[in-house]
Amino acid sequence: MAETTYPTASQRPARRTGAIGMRDVFFVASAVLVALTLYLVFFWVPTEANLGVSQRIFYFHVPIAWLGMLSIIVVAVASAMNLITKRQKWDALAYASAELGAIFASLIIVTGAIWAKPVWGVWWTWDAKLTTTLILWFIYVGYLMLRAYGPKGSQGVRYASVLALIGAIDAPIIYLATNWWRTTHPDLNIGPLAESDLDSRMLLTFLISLITFTVMYVYLMMERYALRRQEDDLDELYRTAALRA
């Protein structure tokens, strides 16, 4: 029963209690920014002339969509790094981002449907942008199922990494769908390829909301990543103990 030989957990210093870390900073920043964004969206920004009050979903729907697309790219890059370096911390990063991405992909579809019904007249239609977003949702769910039910250990990680690398191609397709095909979505009105422009107050509200959601994503990633590392350590302890027994 030699306690000292358990490797990974002892290699990282435990988080000192009382010290203010980056996670605390991002937690406070997220809380403040969410409050600010809610104020801007519901009290400050003007109502859109044609779409009315339902257009305010825009300030949630688009930042959520951005994170849904960002998450799969983070999963793919971290997976590639894991395949190259074989270091488990990259895999923990990929897994954390996949879980968050699954939540954001679900929220894209939910907020989109809530907005589509009053504006378009339908909850859902099979246009290119909606369909490729649904594919993104399936990629996240497929990734998580592969991790949960696939082979344990590095083989399962490799399978999921391949899925993530292929799946990440979907993100730019979703973004550019309105340029490539006829869809129900309006043309891009944000970003370098945008043709139309926004009212300045709407643009400011949107940008702050985008920053808010991104900061929140980073914070959630920090929490989930740290937890995942602890899960990996625990797995390692069980495996070591099982081998000894």
Binding site: T5, P7, T8, S10, Q11, P46, T47, E48, A49, N50, L51, G52, Q55, F58, P118, V119, W120, G121, V122, T125, W126, D127, A128, T131, T132, L134, I135, F138, I139, G142, M145, L146, Y149, G150, P151, K152, G153, S154, Q155, Y159, A177, W180, W181, R182, T183, T184, P186, D187, N189, E195, S196, D197, L198, D199, R201, M202, E236, R239, T240, L243
Partner: protein, 156 residues
Amino acid sequence: MSETTEKHQSLPEASQGSTFLTANRVKILLGAVVLVGALVYFGFMALRSATVYYYTVGELNAQRPSEEGRIVRVSGKLVPDSFDRPEGSISAFFQLTDGTHTLRAAHQGVLPDLFFNEHSEIILEGHYTPGGVFESENVIVKCPSKYIAKAEAESG
């Protein structure tokens, strides 16, 4: 402490069965088949509906003879003053235009609020009837891409 990493690497992974078709592998194979199948299906749907997601009024008029009975989507703007709903009826009659061509259309039922907005593009899902009227089954309103603030005076 320096030997810990080597010890870490030398640990074997949880042992797998040695035969090819273990219960785990069958599950993975089934999962992969379902996943790939779903991806191909939705990819196909996306491409198919993307190429014909909607026609413009001019494109639809050009191929009218072959389009009777087949469900298609057509997009255009509402011709001003063309809308007519007989008193007490749920049927609406109107015309769509792409700027040069027009299309006579009919729809039964509720229309979205933005249907009558001059900036809206209207997408109809439906088919031609022998009379040359486009019978719409679903109305989808494509919202304007430019957001304009409502004037302060009228907001409330």
